[in-house]
Subunit: 360 residues, 2 copies
């Protein structure tokens, strides 16, 4: 079968050239006679692969001096637990803003370790958005301030980095990481699961400011102990070597695309094309206020939900897959991460317009 | 370059047919138009891959009713932390036997959560072995009894399952898992990192008796919470999907080899061939008492350690790689997991005999 356009919220599409290279190198990486999967993480070949991936990531994000970049396991959900354990120091609570499902999960897990002060929450069901900073009830004694850059289920995204000065800013960037340039210096810690924008599930990248490395609880699991992992170049235990390698190939691909400025422009074009198609129709609707609309996850409902199944079936027949919305919100969702080509968005828009003519 | 014989202690060799299939399916898994890496873990295709892998594993090990099989992240080192958190219940301490480096790491991590009673330790530097059960100082109130089936650095292995009745038996089987049949009913919990005998690093399998699922501390990280993961079919968070798929291919390969009885016979032949070559020479030496010699990791020293580098260089030139012993013990180590063919062991023995004639 031909490759499809896969609008999955994650795991999600990867660049075809990355997959092709991985397939070609599967039995013999660059003349070593081994698959990357078979390499000792202590061996010269893998150490080179790992170091290059880290450097390429630093280049792409222009990570300033004074930050460690870690390649860990357990996904962003593991970090929900690891972050309070690593950053609690002598504090008793942390600030969290609740903008949706992923914020809620992070809050629930943090509460096992630290007090949580919810500074604000999105609760307008009709017009989803980000609560204005002016109403946030922050705690000046917070160990850190946590937010989720983009809620994948509702498609609600912070348009800018919050103006937080009272505590280190911590961001779950799983679904926007590497989708555009970002000023890393604004953050104490950024974390991102790989399976949306840059690699296979099972890898999480943590970028952490070095002055935050001395605050861990003694019972922090060693695989997530930032200081210990930083000192061990993320190899305190055997890392997810193959996932790290694939992420490295994606970083090379991102550089070849022109870096994050070019990638960000393309992602913005893709999102605008799709939102414009939705807004210019009375058949499709997106309930998020324009300033907070996600570039990565575009949920929409049909005017008549009885047509949902027909829409999904006909879309799949047209090579447009995994468009079903999350069960908690219904309707459709098109996730259009880095590896979704503009042609995929064009094909979706064409399909939507044709479908509306036939059924609207 | 031709494929090499890779004696790495882990990550380690995988069956060539598994790698070939993975390469062929990389861009399009069975007509779906997607790589397994790109599939939603909630989608029909991946759910089938995951379920088949679990069933094949249950078949191979003849897992009895009443056990959950989990596919988690964070490796065995993550489990060093997860096990006491999940199994502590209303107890205060657990029994651990210390037979080497991996036991020590498990003990150190457990101590962050639970009291540790070390029942015995291997300390004879001249003849390494397993302390006799008759001298173990067990605690009748232990939450569980933990042992490491095989210490990869010294090559010391339990010849049989310990006769433990006073507490659930917990085993780190990372380096022997699936290398021979095992009576799962003897265990409360078995765990194994994938990267030695059955897959890529970044995946850990946990087999846990269902009556042990109600003992977790409230602050157990959800990604490692056995009960929560069991209820979610290991998909409480996004699992390491690609690693799970590769493990499934290895399970299929093991079945095609005739199952664990046949694989175990081959592994025993491989180990005996190598130990016989060592024992019949005065040039090579293995310091482990015969009853506790590992089938998986065969360390040996040369009579003259000045020849170590020459041995390694000439071995590599002959296609025999990653034979250097762990820095803590020096000398050589041949790790001969499931995917190391008998031809690899024959080639190593031939090389060792030739090297001895030239340099002995």
């Amino acid at each position: 079968m031909a490759r499809i356009f896969n609008f999955s919220a994650g795991p999600a599409m990867l660049p075809e050239s990355v997959l092709s290279q991985a397939a070609e190198e599967m039995l013999d990486w660059q003349g070593t006679g081994m698959s990357v999967m078979e390499m000792s993480h202590r061996g010269k070949a893998f150490v080179e692969i790992a170091a290059r991936a880290e450097q390429d990531l630093r280049d792409l994000l222009q990570v300033p001096a004074g930050y460690k970049v870690l390649f860990l396991q357990g996904g962003a959900t593991g970090q929900f637990s690891a972050i309070p354990k690593n950053l609690i120091g002598d504090k008793r609570s942390a600030d969290y803003i609740n903008t949706g499902s992923w914020s809620k999960k992070a809050i629930a897990e943090a509460k096992q370790t630290i007090g949580v002060n919810v500074v604000a929450q999105s609760d307008n069901k009709d017009l989803l958005g980000i609560p204005a900073e002016s109403i946030w009830q922050c705690d000046p004694e917070a160990a850190y301030f946590h937010y989720c850059a983009n809620e994948t289920i509702t498609g609600v995204e912070f348009p800018t980095i919050p103006s937080v000065e009272h505590a280190p800013l911590v961001c779950d960037m799983s679904s926007t990481f590497l989708s555009r340039p970002i000023d890393v210096s604004r953050f104490g810690l950024i974390y991102a699961g790989a399976q949306k924008n840059f690699g296979p599930a099972g890898l999480v990248v943590v970028i952490v400011r070095e002055d935050l490395l001395d605050r861990a609880q003694p019972d922090t699991p060693s695989v997530w102990h930032y200081k210990a992992q930083a000192e061990a170049d993320s190899m305190l235990n055997t890392p997810a070597t193959y996932s790290w390698y694939i992420a490295g190939l994606v970083f090379q691909w991102l550089k070849a695309q022109g870096g994050l400025a070019a990638v960000g422009e393309r992602n913005e074009r893709k999102a605008k094309r799709l939102y414009n198609a939705i807004d210019s129709s009375s058949f499709y609707h997106n309930p998020v206020e324009p300033s907070a609309r996600s570039w990565m996850n575009v949920p929409f409902v049909l005017a008549n939900s009885d047509l949902d199944k027909t829409f999904l079936d006909e879309a799949a027949a047209a090579g447009l897959h995994t468009l079903k919305g999350h069960r908690s919100v219904g309707g459709m969702r098109a996730s259009i991460y880095n590896a979704m080509p503009e042609a995929g968005v064009e094909a979706l828009v064409d399909f939507m317009q044709t479908f509306e003519k036939q059924h609207g």
